[in-house]
């Protein structure tokens, strides 16, 4: 077994051993999508309370007990959790020998929410660095799932080295009224997959400017808000500029606003052998300009297979936000949907009820800066900053 303190990936020469876990039905779907030649060298492991037989994973772990009577966790995270704790040793042995463990899961259901935190714990005990890629349920899936997802996310943050989470609700920005449900899920999976691929490329490609896994973990750890991530590709002569444009227009980065608000940003560029320093510089300069307040970690790598394509992965994290802000959501009008394979729990509460039972500390509207004479006019926005607010306030310069 590896010593957790000295992961061998500190020597760039040796490739880290990577294991990718898909947990729960949604996790398995994501895992199957990821099981492509691109991720050659990684072990794919499926973990589920239902039978994971259908999965293409190399190793399948079926968590089961008599209690469940082969019916899965029934959307109850507690049951999933209990089951995982019961079979902790199995999970741990599955993680043996890995330097890096990725966990793919859709939070909100029983298996994903229950097992993932335990799996993360097991993997860490087995000496691996753990990075979780998870989705949060849609708003319309109901309070209980959201609550479970939030709870699980908190646990996961405590257990894993890093959590990259994608609130499914954000997908609504990417789809229109006529997008079928199936397509929507495919899109969610695709986005998460892109994030995974970005991090994977970071770790496995020979780096001109190396980014260590620990950098990634440093970035995502202890940031009590969602980490926004984006993966863009561009090709052709103006690819650096195109990539920047795509980043700034990326819906998951709120059209670049997430960058302006973030306080730590990881940027990784991957391209063919013709990657020039000027291109790296161009992309980085734009990113730097977007996130003035952020600590920036950058990496650049070469992959001959990419030919003239340039791939940029951005992970932006922000701090100082209440954990509950992750739940900040947009109201939607769509009907009931759920992630594939997740069973819909009985909705016993109405939406408002939870808000009363779980008070959220929000900013009082009174404390928001009055814009004086510009209150009623159209705000002057510049890179996500409202220029109508006095400069000294925005820059936090104290007048004593």
């Amino acid at each position: 077994m590896q010593n957790p303190e000295t992961p061998s990936l500190l020597e760039p020469a040796s490739k880290p051993v990577v294991k990718i876990f898909g947990v729960g039905n949604a996790g398995l779907t994501l895992l199957d999508a990821a099981n492509t030649p691109e991720f050659a060298g990684a072990d794919f492991i499926a973990v589920n309370t239902d039978s994971p037989a259908a999965s293409s994973a190399t190793v399948k772990i079926h968590l089961e007990s008599k209690l469940l009577r082969g019916l899965g966790s029934g959307g109850d995270a507690e049951r999933g959790r209990a089951l995982a704790e019961e079979q902790f040793s199995t999970l741990k042995s599955a993680c043996d020998g890995a330097n890096v463990v990725f966990i793919l899961a859709g939070l909100g259901g029983g298996a994903g929410s229950g097992i993932s935190p335990i799996l993360a714990k097991a993997a860490r005990e087995a000496g691996a660095l753990v990075l979780a890629f998870v989705t949060l349920p849609f708003d319309c899936e109901g309070n209980r799932r959201e609550q479970q997802a939030q709870q699980s996310l908190e646990q996961l943050r405590a257990a894993a080295d890093g959590v990259i989470c994608l609130p499914a609700q954000k997908i609504f920005k990417l789809i229109d009224e006529n997008t079928p449900v199936v397509e929507t899920f495919r899109l969610t999976g695709g986005l998460l997959h892109e994030g995974l691929r970005g991090v994977w490329q970071l770790l496995t490609r020979p780096g001109l400017i190396q980014v260590h896994f620990s950098d990634v973990c440093n970035l995502v750890r202890d940031r009590h808000a969602e980490n926004a991530f984006a993966f863009v590709e561009a090709a052709g002569p103006g690819r650096a500029r195109e990539a920047v444009e795509k980043i700034l227009a990326h819906p998951l980065l709120d059209e670049g606003r997430a960058l302006a608000e973030s306080d730590a940003v990881l940027v990784s560029l991957t391209a063919g052998k013709d990657l020039t320093m000027a291109e790296v510089g161009r992309v980085m300069e734009q990113v730097k300009r977007q996130c003035v307040h952020a600590q920036i970690i950058m990496g650049a790598a070469v992959d001959a297979a990419l030919k003239e394509k340039l791939c940029v992965t951005i992970i932006a994290a922000k701090q100082n936000v209440q954990p509950s802000s992750v739940a900040k959501r947009v109201e939607t009008r769509t009907g009931t949907t759920s992630l594939p394979g997740h069973r819909e729990p009985a909705l016993s509460h109405v939406r408002g009820a939870r808000k009363i039972s779980k008070p959220v500390q929000t900013q009082l509207p009174l404390s928001i800066v009055s814009k004086g004479r510009f209150d009623k006019s159209e705000p002057t926005k510049h890179n996500g900053e409202d220029l109508d607010v006095p400069t000294f306030l925005r820059r936090g310069i104290p007048l004593n």
Binding site: K371, G372, R373, S377, T380, L387, T391, I397
Partner: protein, 408 residues
């Protein structure tokens, strides 16, 4: 009453004042400023009209004053426009030369310009200016007049300034409402640069910043053509508003403090100084820290410059400004603003004077009238062209196709 073709009027409907400048072309074509009218503007915010009734009232007052002073009847004006919705960008047009002898004809030039003007603007936007920059023939850059040259591929760079059509129309309608004609609408930034810059400056490369009450316009000239332009909807109003908020005084008081004690840099003399605000009876109300006042102002003004500097850097123009930066607009009356701008841009900064025209010396020296004077100059250049006299305009204007929006 007949219309005197030699009278040219520039009208700027600004956020803090409405300003009318009357110019007269004398027999040999030189421009002379003969009248000026201004009124406090109340119906405008951030360079856009929010209360047409009040704005019209103020406009009438300004026009009346100008007419009195110049002793003419004003029939039509060149209208300056601005606002946060106005944007400028560069566009390239390409045209293959198809004639057998490969000689570039006038038609080719017209075609390539047409191609360059065919830009994808948002539907609600209208073009204000399309300014021709330089031609390039078969990749050879910097050609000013390609007619008669041989080549297979003609390209042209255009600088297109566009804005929200309805908002531009608002200003035009306001002027029409007072029975005045609008000759043309002109972007305020271009007008200001016309007033401030000599041809030499335009060749060397210069940045003109017009910090007005509600908006800040900037234009970059280089190599005799307009390279970049833009508007930031931040101006003197924001400074006052910041002061009102930071010092917790009413806006009118903040405005006064800004005028009397403002500074673009925190001065040593202000350290630890306080001011006592008295009410109308002379009783002290409260004290205000002068250092805070100056810091708040300094930060806001610095930010405006920084935003412009950033944008120019993005456009890669910072190294081309050999003539330096020229400031105008009411906000440049703040002491120390030149030093502040020098700190931000790291180059020579000058307070601009409308040097290119003769006339009322007191008017020309005021930085806030630069744009209105520039409008008159723009009009005079247009007028001369209309007269079809042999004429070589300054290159920046040479290609200006100010578009007339709905001329009735």
């Amino acid at each position: 009453m007949f219309e005197d073709p030699n009278i040219i009027v520039g009208l700027e409907i600004g956020t803090s004042k409405i300003c009318v400048v009357v110019g007269e072309l004398n027999a040999d074509g030189a421009l002379n400023i003969i009248g000026l009218g201004q009124a406090r503007s109340r119906g405008v915010r951030k360079g856009e009209i929010i209360n047409p009734e009040q704005a019209e009232e103020d406009l009438r007052a300004a026009i009346f004053e100008a007419e009195q002073m110049a002793d003419v009847e004003i029939r039509s004006v060149y209208l300056g426009v601005s606002g946060g919705h106005v944007r400028g960008f560069n566009n390239r047009g390409v045209h293959p030369v198809v004639s057998a002898d490969r000689e570039i004809s006038d038609d080719d030039v017209q075609d390539v310009i047409k191609n360059a003007m065919a830009v994808n603007l948002p539907v609600e936007n209208a073009r204000i200016h399309s300014v021709r920059q330089r031609f390039s023939v078969d990749g050879q850059d910097g050609v000013t007049n390609p007619v008669g040259m041989l080549g297979a591929r003609l390209e042209v760079q255009m600088h297109v300034i566009h804005g929200h059509a309805n908002r531009l129309q608002n200003a035009i309608r306001l002027v029409r409402g007072t029975q005045l004609e609008v000759d043309e609408i002109v972007f305020n930034g271009i007008a200001a640069s016309l007033a401030l810059l000599t041809n030499e400056h335009k060749e060397l490369g210069a940045l003109v910043i017009d910090i007005g009450g509600g908006t800040t316009e900037f234009v970059v000239h280089y190599d005799g053509v307009i390279r970049h332009s833009g508007v930031i909807a931040v101006g003197g109003d924001h400074v006052s508003n910041d002061l009102a908020f930071g010092l917790k005084v009413p806006l009118s008081r903040a405005e006064k403090l800004k005028m009397e004690h403002g500074s673009a840099l925190v001065t040593d003399a202000a350290k630890g100084q306080t001011l006592t605000i008295v009410n109308e009876l002379g009783l002290p109300l409260r004290t205000v820290n002068v250092e805070h006042l100056q810091r708040i102002m300094s930060l806001r003004l610095e930010e405006i410059f920084q935003l412009i500097a950033q944008e120019l850097e993005q456009a890669g123009l910072t190294d081309y400004l050999r003539a330096g930066v020229f400031l105008c607009g009411g906000c440049t009356r703040v002491p120390g603003i030149v030093r502040l701008a020098e700190n931000v841009f790291q180059m020579n900064v000058t307070l601009g004077h409308a040097s290119a025209i003769s006339g009322l010396a007191t008017t020309l020296d005021q930085p806030e009238f630069a744009a209105a004077i520039g409008l008159v100059k723009y009009g005079s250049l247009k007028n001369r062209r209309r007269d079809k006299r042999p004429f070589f305009s300054p290159a920046g204007i040479k290609g200006a196709f100010g578009r007339l929006l709905q001329r009735s």
